[in-house]
Amino acid sequence: MTLLQWIPVFGVIFMTVATIGLGLWATRAAKTAADFFVAGRSVSVFWNASAISGEYLSAASFMGIAGLLMKNGYDALWYPACYAAGYLFLLLFIAGPLRRFGAYTIPDFAEGRFDSPNFRKVAVTFVLFIGFFYTMPQMKGAGLVLGAILNWPYWAGIAVVGMVITFNVAFGGMKGITFVQAFQYWAKMFAIALPIFILAGTFNHYPTNLKKIATTPGEIPSVWPDSTQVDRVQTIKGQANYPANVLACSPLGTTVIRLPEGARIARLSPVRTPREGEDRIENLLRVIRYPSKNNAGGDLAQTVYGADDGPISIAGEAEMIAMGVPVTRGGKPVMEDGKPVMTSAKIEFEQKTKLAISPGAPSPNTPTNLRWIEPFGPMTSKHGYPLLYTYSLIIALICGTAGLPHILVRFYTNPDGRAAKRTTLWVMVMLGSFYVFPPIWGTLGRLVQPSLYVTGATDQVVITLPNKLENPLLGAVLSAITSAGAFAAFMSTFSGLLVSMSGALAHDIYGKILRPRATPQQRMRMFKIAAVVIGAASMGLGLLVESFDIAMMVGWAFAIAACSYFPLLLLGAWWPGLTKFGAGCGMLGGGVLSLGAIVTSMLLDKKVIPLTVSPLTRSLLEQPAIWGVPLALGLMVVVSKLTAGSIPEDVDLKMLRLHAPEELGFSKNYIEH
């Protein structure tokens, strides 16, 4: 490795050392049990807001949104917008009451609100469940980044992030990580914003770039806009990573692909799904096999393949040519808006295949400028119900944010309900300033580094784009900054998850269920043990998910939170008639059914379940929030009405504690100083 390649590594090392150092420094102040669990409730509004924002901006926010926007265009803007808007709902309906109720965890709230220790157990299960689902993608991100900048194996990144954070949490508890997370917010803000201002000097400003895309609606960026580009060998991911192993060629031009020896194509199909009655396309792909070494004088062999041909194996070296082919019905071209409809080859490889693509070819796996910049592009219209898909996505993201347990725990570190509202307000300012930037990265990536479309690795755009600068030293320094930012993202989010899960084990399971008489010291010791156990389990789970998609796993966590915790908190805080049976049925029903729908959708994608379902059902399975949230709310209301006899007797007092200002003296803290 050259010195330049080491520069990003220094960025990562700096962030890791800073995290350990700040953690140790803050830990000296953490003495009591309250310090451990809720940072002594002494954190000021500004620092608490920084810490919440730092914790919330995860791998998905720092790397994922830029990558998703580069891949899907406008539709991906819903992600950052709704991630931020979720906090508005938290502020309007949940933040103040939750803090006033004086419970430390969601399970505390569940038990205190319904006087039911059993309900605590259900709630604890959900904290751990959602927490682990959210942990896995962070771990995967850490493994990927160290792989991308250092060529380290996948497990190395997981080990570094896992051990550093477990150490910090076990020693400092909540107080130890609050300052670290606050620092990490500002580090991430700096890392996502500063490089953009420098890159814009070379690659134009945001509005200029968008205008360029909008004024050439029919075009697709070419793979290597710069023909002096040397690095033409790209890895196509294997079938395990479906659909990233797919090379969907554009009908707008000719794509020449050079294949290595022994490449195998699993399936060949047209990129545009054929309609009823259209002819099979005979000439999708031309494969030219070069003479092999032991047959040096032999001829070039050319074979033409059509739709649904495959598997195709290529013994020696070969070149493939894909170009636009007209779609026909009964031998006559199919017309749309006076123009013949064209299609091209979609090539699915059996495993990772290194290949080279001719300079100037339209980039495969890339929507046209028009489909990219306008709403209802490839992401939301893939099953044919773009409006439904968009609405369901909005509901999942907003309600999911308002129901994530590791975020909700943070509200208890506010001194009172008023501070909780002010903190949320500041969080929205901080998140809003951050979320303006990832779409700028994604737009730049489309114009400057379209090669990422070929590998499907658009998630890396934040890390690799700076290397496209002409000055290699400046590129390496900027890449070091974004790598450090990405590490801050994994570490801060994992810290928060680890605190909330360890808290659930030490405070809810040990302190309230197993040993109600444990002293604060015993609980603190239990917290440390729990942090180590859960940290180890998270690293183990992280190793298992290398072949899963980051966005998919985060989607699971959001959908479960939206259909379980959000309805519980909303109705629990505002409707006196909610009973423990109603809340339990709604939480379990909504959470379990939506998880089942997402898993079914994934199995359909991977063709594990050999069923054809209607596009409408398919959309509803993939994005279940549009029916899951109303279902959970409805179940809660109906079952509560049926079991109205079990409403706690002092429900009015509970409501007063949720909504009356602290000075009136109705509040009570579960953890005293």
């Binding site: 502020l91 103040g96 205008k211 709403p375 509202k421 929205m428 300033s433 303006v436 007092l653 007063l656």
Partner: protein, 106 residues
Amino acid sequence: MSERKPLPDRADTARITRQIMRRQAGLSVRVASVFLVLILGLPLVNRYAPAIAQARIWGFPASWLFLGLLFYPVTVALSVYFVRASDRIEAECRTYFDSDGDGAAR
């Protein structure tokens, strides 16, 4: 606060609770509806009024400008309004208890 006021009796508690909750909930629902009209209306504008959604403003398509940039200050403005109004409701509630409201509550 070291000294705690005695809790009002059951009937009063219920009445006061309902009053505070109704005002707070009314405020939350009002702000939420403004927000929901914006965020749920945008896909409809995109769908049925593409000429507006794609109009060019400072180089941005209008819909992109709103969702990618202006959306954030708008949500912050809504939150500022909510926090102020909510503080006002609580301040009124406090004066109700602190002043001769004590008698009224009992």
